[in-house]
Amino acid sequence: MDNSTIAAISTPPGNGGIGIIKISGPKAIDIALTVFRPKFWRKNPENAYNKVPENAHCFKSRRLYYGHIVDTKNDRIIDEVLFVIMRAPYSYTTEDVVEIQSHAGILVLKSILTILIHNGAQLAEPGEFTRRAFLNGRIDLTQAEAVIDIINAKSGSAIDMAMAQISGALKKTIESLRSEIIDILSFIDASIDFPDDLDDTTVVSGLVKRIEENIIFQIKNLIRHYENENFLREGLKVVIVGGPNVGKSSLMNRLINRERSIVTDIPGTTRDFIEDSFITKGIPVIVTDTAGMHDNPDPVERIGIDKAWESISTSDIILFTVDAGKSVNPTEMALFEKFRNKKIIAVINKTDLPEEKISFNRPTEWGEVQYVEISALYNHGIDDLKDLIAKTAFESVSGMGQKIIPNLRQKNALEKAIASLTAAVAGLRQASLFELVSIDLKSALASLSEIVGDTVKPDILDNIFNRFCIGK
């Protein structure tokens, strides 16, 4: 248990300016360096900028480095940070320790922690840094009792936190998944330990179906909930869609509060899609302007429209923009229909037109879609629109099955469970080697148990004896 590398956010949650993430253990430096991109300023221009050192030895212990933390999955920059390595044994835990000082927003800190975990660190247990410091002789032995109190206190609050984090609904879901796995595992183990009592040759396809449809499906749903909620972390994706020349680019510029899209009167000016971001109610929003959708695009426009579809498919909210001065045309009607399964806000632009020129009527087919009237030209209604975007986002989160949203730790565990269950299914399909399937199911069970904090091994035998008539 002490060969692992642990990581945790070590500053208290709140609105301070700087947050610190601490990593400790034999792989602390390796893991930290896979996500850290230092910037070096040197006299030699060839090496001047963004030169990644050849290896970890290029970093000096206890020296502050400046750079970026990047998401290794897509090379996106998460935050600019100060980075310090404290090599063993000259650190708090006497192990290799890395501290990353980033901006204090909980979203930033969490994303950095996530990335570290994806790269092999484990979330630290309550009081684990202190425990390691003690076990490694860093803290005086007379302090042993104080250390114990810290651990007990922290475990207490961690348990409270776990209880608070794990909503009744999530706990229930996990429990039901666990008992389903225990049920299948009981069958597998019973058929191994009691080959005389159970006939198992015909049930394999049934088991596969149960694992895939009852268990994996549900876990995937939970993970999706996490990812949906993740706009808090990665940004809410909003796409501006509409017919040509309804003022999409103007809207974009107003939202991000600067000139970015080319605004002309010529339809089809926005040929490439343009992405930028703004923040509303604390939510980072990534907004994409798309090419105007119309029926007869030229080949160049065609490319823009295809790209628009791509970003629409991954978006959270669609701003369906129409011209207040025009009545809805069939193309727009058809377009709107295609977005039915998405969250849509209908944005009526150009409401600054004189009243006699307003000819837009809310189509009955659009039903209960939310409308916002704006004038991109005069910057009217933009704040209302931003508020509605935030509100819609929160609704979509809280509307999901009474907040069954796993947190990061829980999501990691769910992903591990899926990997094990997938292996179990493969095992069942391939050769029905129940013994290996049993190993995979036990791993899945252990992962789910982590979520509810239940470390007690399930009594499979107990379940077997209750369910199956066993014995000579």
């Binding site: 248990m1 002490d2 060969n3 247990e125 309550p126 009081g127 425990r131 003690f134 076990l135 002789g137 032995l141 042993a144 009792e145 250390v147 114990i148 109190d149 651990i151 007990n152 475990s155 183990d189 058929s191 191994i192 330990d193 009691f194 080959p195 005389d196 009592d197 391939q430 050769a431 029905s432 080697l433 129940f434 013994e435 290996l436 049993s438 190993i439 470390t455 499979i460 035998l461 077997i464 004896f465 008539c469 066993i470 014995g471 000579k472």
Partner: protein, 623 residues
């Protein structure tokens, strides 16, 4: 008080499967040993099923064999049927099971015991221990005669306060027809042991000639067969078939209607029975929806016509037993030779034992087998061997002999017993072993022969053979991993013939061997080894390569497990003085006295935080 002049190192009480292995191991290690039993005509008796082995039990028998025990060898000499179970469910859960000639088994064991040097066998009932403060110094038999020894192993089976039940009648008996032992359990209570009560039972025996076997499905022994013992070259015994049939609704109804007459459901039995070995009454009551229950008729031996009616265990009165038996198709005219019965007996909850199976209360006193709350010949034999080795090791000043959960099923069993205790007869199951995949029947010799040799229970030739085999296994795996198979016509034809995807590029041979549809035959076909390899070597190579991923995963888990296991808790460690533990945990820890943080972590109620606290307290005190 009269005392025998000869002084022993080890006295073993009881000559069942536990007692015999204990006495043999200690004597073979060079100790002066006495084995005392109530009836020497019952040495290594099989009072219930005629089977040895089965799931997880087969693994135990192989482990006993690898450590120089006797069970597997005698099984091979006296088996009348062999079966390998679970051959399709994965390599680690293959288990061998035999049926044995009970009388010949007894005779074979008796003669080995009589011929073993340093081993005196005596008939008598042990009623008391001779004590010197908290240390055992010998035993007193039922005549009041004393025998001195530095260590005593109690392997008393079901004899402590044994009470046989049939219907409304009960008899004091160790087994049906044998004297029980009532003084010894009373004495153990006096000494401070906490005794509990368990119940087991056995089905009726029928006369072969009164059975219509045409109504049953015949089940023959496997052919070819693989011997139990690693040392057996060839099996030469005659084999007999078993017969499978079913008790149906008419039989179930008879039992339902007469439940109140059964000892078990008439409220006359307080001992806890094993859930995995339900009596017929239990099956009928707990699974009322089942409309049939399997019956297996197994011969008890070559020289007898008694047939063991597996599945019909009960504690009903004679007249109802007869109705039950005769209601079954094919048994309409069956003659019952011995009735089924239930038996209650005392056991010592094994949390009162150290991992060596020595009691915590009395120095030099060991316990093995059913007295520890277990059930089964194999479980008993394994504990007997374990206790015998440890008693001898103590005498000889050797370190304690302990195997952990990653080394052997024996280790799993002993750790379960001393850490968790039991409140029902404990039987070994493969699902109790976390590291099942590496604790296989087929590799028990590779795992344990060296340890057996170290103890002096295995000769050097056997060890040399195992070492050589290990080397060959390693070399062959290496060779296969380095061999590249080219995508030539012949190869792809072979793959196609075996429903395996053809290859486009050169592929390492181990990658092909990993495919579930292929076996070592592909190696012999396309890249045969220059020397002909022993089938045991081939089997290991195949398993190691095929299950490489899973095996590696378990080895990694074992590594983690070992780190906690090696964090020892010193013998006199005062758990009550540990700051930060709840009183409940302090109490539990003081009672069980785990020897390592690993053992502590498996106790009920231990949290990760409590474990951290313990770790720190140890460090604070130790450093």
């Amino acid at each position: 008080m009269a005392v025998y002049s000869k002084k022993y190192d080890v006295i073993v009480v009881g000559a069942g499967h536990a007692g015999c292995e204990a006495a043999l191991a200690a004597a073979r290690m060079g100790c002066r040993v006495m084995l005392m039993a109530i009836d020497l005509d019952k040495i290594a008796a099989m009072p219930c099923s005629p089977s040895i082995g089965g799931m997880a039990k087969g693994q135990l028998v192989r482990e006993i064999d690898a450590l120089g025990g006797e069970m597997a060898k005698i099984t091979d000499k006296t088996a009348i049927a062999y079966r390998k179970l679970n051959t399709k469910k994965g390599p680690a859960v293959h288990s061998s099971r035999t049926q044995n000639d009970k009388i010949r088994y007894h005779i074979a064991m008796k003669s080995i015991i009589e011929k073993t040097e340093n081993l005196d066998v005596k008939q008598g009932r042990v009623d008391r221990l001779m004590m010197e403060e908290k240390k055992v110094i010998g035993i007193l038999d039922h005549t009041g005669y004393g025998f001195q020894a530095d260590t005593v192993v109690l392997a008393t089976g079901t004899f402590l306060s044994g009470l046989v039940h049939i219907g409304s009648r009960s008899f004091k008996a160790g087994r049906a027809g044998e004297f029980a032992s009532y003084d010894l359990p009373a004495h153990l209570k006096e000494l401070g042991f906490n005794l509990g009560r368990l119940k087991t039972g056995t089905p009726p025996r029928l006369h072969k000639d009164s059975i219509d076997f045409s109504k049953f499905v015949r089940q023959d022994s496997d052919d070819p067969i693989e011997p139990f013992s690693f040392s057996t070259k060839k099996i030469i015994t005659t084999r007999l078939p078993s017969y499978i049939g079913h008790a149906k609704t008419n039989t179930i109804r008879i039992v339902q209607d007469n439940l109140k007459y059964s000892s078990l459901y008439g409220g006359r039995i307080s001992g806890k029975s094993a859930r995995y070995c339900p009596s017929f009454e239990d099956k009928v009551v707990k699974f009322p929806d089942r409309d049939r229950h399997q019956i297996i008729l197994e011969p008890e031996g070559l020289d007898t016509d008694e047939i063991y009616a597996s599945g019909l265990g009960n504690s009903l009165p004679m007249e109802i037993q007869l109705d039950v038996v005769r209601s079954i198709e094919g048994l309409g005219e069956a003659e019952i030779i011995r009735p089924a019965y239930a038996i209650e007996y005392d056991f010592v909850n094994p949390i009162q034992l150290q991992p060596t199976l020595e009691t915590k209360l009395i120095s030099g006193l060991y316990m093995a087998g059913q007295i520890n709350g277990t059930s089964g010949y194999e479980e008993a034999a394994a504990q007997g061997l374990w206790a015998g080795i440890n008693a001898a090791s103590r005498i000889q000043g050797r370190p304690a002999f302990l195997l952990d959960r990653s080394q052997a099923y024996m280790g799993v069993m002993v750790d379960d017993l001393v850490t968790l205790g039991t409140n029902e007869p404990y039987r070994m199951f493969t699902s109790r072993a976390e590291y099942r995949l590496v604790l296989r029947e087929d590799n028990a010799d590779l795992r344990l022969t060296a340890a057996g040799h170290e103890l002096g229970l295995i000769d050097s030739d056997t060890l040399k053979d195992v070492v050589e085999r290990k080397k060959q296994i390693g070399q062959e795996i290496n060779r296969i991993q380095r061999t590249v198979i080219k995508p030539v016509e012949k190869v792809n034809q072979y793959l196609q013939d075996h429903n395996s995807n053809p290859i486009d590029n050169g592929v390492h041979l181990d990658q092909l061997l990993k495919r579930s549809e292929l076996d070592y035959d592909i190696v012999t076909t396309f890249a045969p080894n220059d020397e002909k390899l022993n089938t045991r070597v081939v089997r290991q190579v195949e398993i190691d390569i095929k299950y490489d991923g899973y095996i590696k995963k378990q080895l990694k888990e074992i590594e983690k497990f070992i780190t906690l296991e090696t964090k020892k808790i010193p013998k006199g460690f005062d758990f009550n003085a540990v700051h930060g533990l709840s009183n409940e945990l302090k109490e539990k820890l003081s009672a069980i006295r785990p020897v390592s943080l690993g053992q502590a972590s498996r106790m009920v109620g231990i949290t990760p935080a409590a474990l951290s606290v313990l770790m720190i307290a140890l460090k604070a005190r130790g450093a």
